[in-house]
Point group: C2
Chain length 134, copies 2
DNA sequence: GTAACCAGTATAACAGATGATACCAGTGAA
DNA sequence: TTCACTGGTATCATCTGTTATACTGGTTAC
């Protein structure tokens, strides 16, 4: 996507810009939005049942949780298991594939924390770029 | 993120869940959306002028580029410099702070590539979770 | 003088993400 | 029987990100 000859970029391989941008956007697409990371986190912390996950994430609605769980399942990040009852029970678990996300999440947490400090430290009236509603 | 014994997560410190979720969401907030990563990439590849960046990113509109550049500047990821003319010229550059993002971007690229392969490999009718318009 | 470049802004519309509220069938306990 | 729990779905409203299109004032080249 971008011509590189003089400038080395943060992107290591100068030849596959388009592919790398696409990979980045795929990644953002899967993990993006307001609720996916909190949901993944909740499940990875041992919450397995629908209402249990719901209660563990303040502010989320049933509708959003339902939708996001489906998407996460399609992306192989979590697994939904039904135990035929009675009573019928449903369990959500993280997959091993989900663990390949570990590095990214760790890096993001680290960066996000630093960023909040950075921005608050040098804030001007208009420079609030962190979510302060939560 | 993932249970290490049972309740330990990828999040190292079980007590600061809320803080870590917030950090994650901050990070997503800064880097999220359709255009920020491509813009950062373009600038890091040496494009400095507004129209130059615009031309390097197929599909972006003037309006979006303008908006995103402002946000990126507020977040200290890029720097805008005006050379009083005439003619007046404007230059955008990545900051050193922007480079602290390097690890994350590299990880995201790696994961995004793997994910695309993974999903395509095992695709069902409904499991398309990658952006195929681009 | 007129055409093309520069760095944008203005306005309106659209689309998808998110929120609010209500509801469903089934189970189990009091 | 009534109540609260389970795992959700349905409908509608709103908010935000994104797009489309046009326009500005200034500069430079022909």
């Amino acid at each position: 996507m971008i011509p590189v000859k003089k400038a080395a970029s943060i992107l290591s391989n100068p030849r596959n810009q388009a592919e790398e941008i696409q990979a980045l956007q795929d990644c953002i697409y899967v993990v993006g939005g307001k609720w996916r990371l909190p949901i993944i986190n909740s499940i990875c912390n041992g919450n397995k049942r629908f209402r249990e996950i719901e209660r563990s994430i303040p502010g989320i609605t049933t509708r959003m949780l339902s939708r996001e769980l489906k998407d996460l399942e399609l992306n192989r990040l979590i697994k939904r298991t039904v135990f035929e009852g009675p009573p019928v029970l449903v369990e959500y678990n993280s997959t091993s594939y989900c663990k390949t996300f570990g590095n990214i999440i760790l890096e993001m947490i680290k960066w996000g924390k630093g960023h909040r400090e950075e921005i608050i430290k040098t804030r001007t009236e208009k420079s609030i770029q962190i979510d302060e509603t939560s």
